[in-house]
Symmetry: C2
Subunit: 140 residues, 2 copies
DNA sequence: TGTGTTGTAACCGTTTCGATTACAACGACA
DNA sequence: TGTCGTTGTAATCGAAACGGTTACAACACA
């Protein structure tokens, strides 16, 4: 099991936009060149980031820009913008209600599964776009 | 993105085995009946749990049993037994080395991604099979 | 030897993913 | 107003993963 690469692509898009929006017109083709994927992929992810209010896009003329300060966007925001809004875990659907385990397994597990997902999301919220941009600039 | 249902199936298998191993012969058909999936699926997952040392299986005669006390098996053990051993996140593979972002995004993100995965695994390790069995028995 | 079970291989249909082509809609500017 | 570059979106493709299912050899025990 793996998350789709849309998540890291989205992060790449945001870091690039933050670093270049003052100097360049940040188009899907420009981003695709840095990321190394097809421009249509970039446009789709960019659309999700725009719908989530993380970036603004100028239709027609072209170019993306951050819709809010880099310190206010966390990896969790990016994750939620890009991944389908569904539970992380997939439960088998037909446990046998005649079995004491089958009847109760769902209830017993549910709180644990949400705890696990929450732990992951809490850690995602610890990193801001600002930190990623600063660290990238420092290395470059 | 979702984890495959093999994880919850594996947990179901272990709880069932813990509760019934004294009284019944816990075969793949028996488990499949409680879980509501095909016996072959059960045999495959059971094989992974056996390879990880969580259960023992008596080939030929049939029947699974816990290979260690229920308090010593956590959800993390089950997860690792059942999910392929690979990173949780999938990185896009061809970032442009000529771009300061493309060149460094991997390094900048890597530690964050492993932190996120670690947070998830830490939370998984908090729940033991014993807790799940006790809670299921209590409800039944 | 016969029976019940496990371990595997093979195949199927569905879904998801990323890649790609194609084209309408849009905004700016000559 | 007409052209041009860009975005938004639909359609299609091949590959991979999943779960379901059938089939059968290997195994242990009575």
């Amino acid at each position: 099991m793996q998350f789709s690469s849309r998540f890291t692509i989205a992060v790449h898009i945001l870091v690039c936009t933050a670093m270049f929006q003052e100097r360049e017109k940040v188009t899907s083709a420009f981003l695709a060149g840095s990321i190394g994927v097809n421009p249509v992929i970039v446009r789709n992810v960019l659309g999700q980031l725009s719908a989530a209010g993380l970036v603004g896009i100028r239709a027609g003329v072209g170019g993306a820009h951050l819709a809010r300060p880099a310190e206010e966007t966390t990896l969790l925001d990016v994750f939620r913008a890009v991944e389908k809004d569904e539970a992380l875990f997939h439960f088998h659907e037909n446990p046998n209600p005649l079995c004491p385990v089958g009847r109760n397994i769902h209830t017993v597990m549910d709180s644990r599964l949400t705890d696990i997902q929450s732990a992951m999301e809490r850690q995602m919220a610890e990193t801001t776009l600002r930190q990623l941009v600063d660290e990238t600039q420092e290395k470059a």
